[in-house]
């Protein structure tokens, strides 16, 4: 297909798409005028029925908790896919140490400066605390298990940026990472079964709800947040490690060596 015909095709479909879009948007409610009943119902009842001030967390981990279990499993399966794809191939070998004659070594990034080391390593502690805070306060303020989990997973990255490869490897290959990921998924299902055990439905909020606005409020929502945080943090650390392992350590072997 030559250039002019491609342009003709593009403009024709662009005009058609724009027309359809304009037609569809014509019947939308005006900007800022919410018409559906569900949002108002959730806003009005969440605090009284669930003792949760962040309605979005209540929706994610309570009203539609089963969907969240599905989302968490998607992440789990993607991480398994990434680690399987990026495993050590037949043609690859692990680098033993820096090889000065290697042309590729000349393209390596320079050692990080002392200032960068101090700042990045100094940020690790506050970052972990912030991640834990986001996980633990999901039911009170924006955030929750997913966001907090990813923040926690960036802590080993800071260690890597500081050039401390040894510590980075020790953190990311620690068996705790995989255990946390599996325990997160298992914990989510187990908390869901708690509802079944007392005769309610799966993922029913059966625990005492606590006082609104405190860290222990929300019943099962708090526990589900912690489980999600574990699974997400573990999953992201594993995925990041497989990516970095491929980039830093794996070399293709000479095919006829």
């Amino acid at each position: 297909m030559n250039r002019t015909r491609r342009h003709v095709l593009f403009f024709a479909s662009a005009v058609l798409l724009f027309g359809l879009l304009a037609w569809a948007m014509h019947d939308l409610p005006p900007f800022g005028h919410y018409r559906g009943p569900y949002g108002d119902v959730i806003n009005a009842t969440t605090v009284y029925e669930r003792h949760i001030t962040d309605a979005i967390t209540a929706v994610n981990f309570d009203f539609r908790g089963f969907d969240t279990l599905g989302e968490e499993s998607i992440l789990f399966m993607s991480v398994i896919g990434v680690t399987t794809l990026l495993r050590r191939q037949k043609k690859e070998k692990k680098k033993d140490g820096p090889d000065e004659s290697d042309e590729i070594e000349k393209h390596r990034a320079p050692e990080p400066s002392d200032a960068m080391k101090v700042i990045t390593l100094g940020l690790v502690g506050p970052l972990v605390v912030y991640g834990l805070y986001i996980v633990a306060h999901g039911q009170i303020t924006p955030g929750g298990g997913f966001q907090g989990g990813v923040i926690l997973a960036t802590a080993p990255l800071l260690v890597y940026l500081a050039g401390d490869l040894k510590t980075f490897k020790r953190i990311t290959t620690h068996s705790v990472v995989e255990i946390a990921e599996a325990a997160g998924i298992f914990g989510f299902v187990a908390i869901g079964c708690l509802g079944l055990s007392v005769g309610a439905q799966f993922l029913a909020n059966v625990l005492p709800l606590g006082e609104t606005g405190t860290i222990l409020s929300g019943g099962t929502v708090q526990l589900l947040n912690i489980a999600t945080g574990l699974a997400v943090a573990g999953g992201f650390v594993s995925a990041i490690y497989s990516f970095l392992e491929q980039t830093i350590e794996m070399r293709m072997e000479g095919e006829k060596d």
């Binding site: 962040d54 590729i104 990813v150 990255l157 992201f236 491929q246 980039t247 070399r251 293709m252 006829k256």
Partner: protein, 93 residues
């Protein structure tokens, strides 16, 4: 507030187009990360702080990192392939 909302929408459009128009891959990834940050600001301005937080951690941290590492790996493999080829040619000569 409305002015802020219009401004951020235009900014999202501009940065998104800029990412598409950038042809150099590494600059594109940095642009993508910046675009992720702008998108997070948009979510925040439209009063969706939960989504904004997810967008920041994924769009500005995890996604560019994975792109950067993949690009680095591809470049290294290309370099090495070239090197191996040169070695073989030298052996043959």
């Amino acid at each position: 507030m409305l002015i802020l909302q219009i401004a951020i929408l235009i900014f999202v459009g501009v940065t998104g187009t800029a990412v598409v128009l950038t042809r150099e891959v590494r600059s594109q990834v940095i642009g993508l990360s910046f675009y992720g940050l702008i998108l997070a600001m948009m979510f925040f301005i439209y009063q969706a702080p939960d989504v904004a937080l997810s967008q920041i951690v994924i769009g500005a941290v995890a996604l560019p990192l994975m792109f950067m590492l993949a690009i680095a790996k591809i470049r290294r493999n290309e370099l090495q392939r070239k090197q191996l080829k040169e070695q073989e040619e030298r052996k043959a000569a």
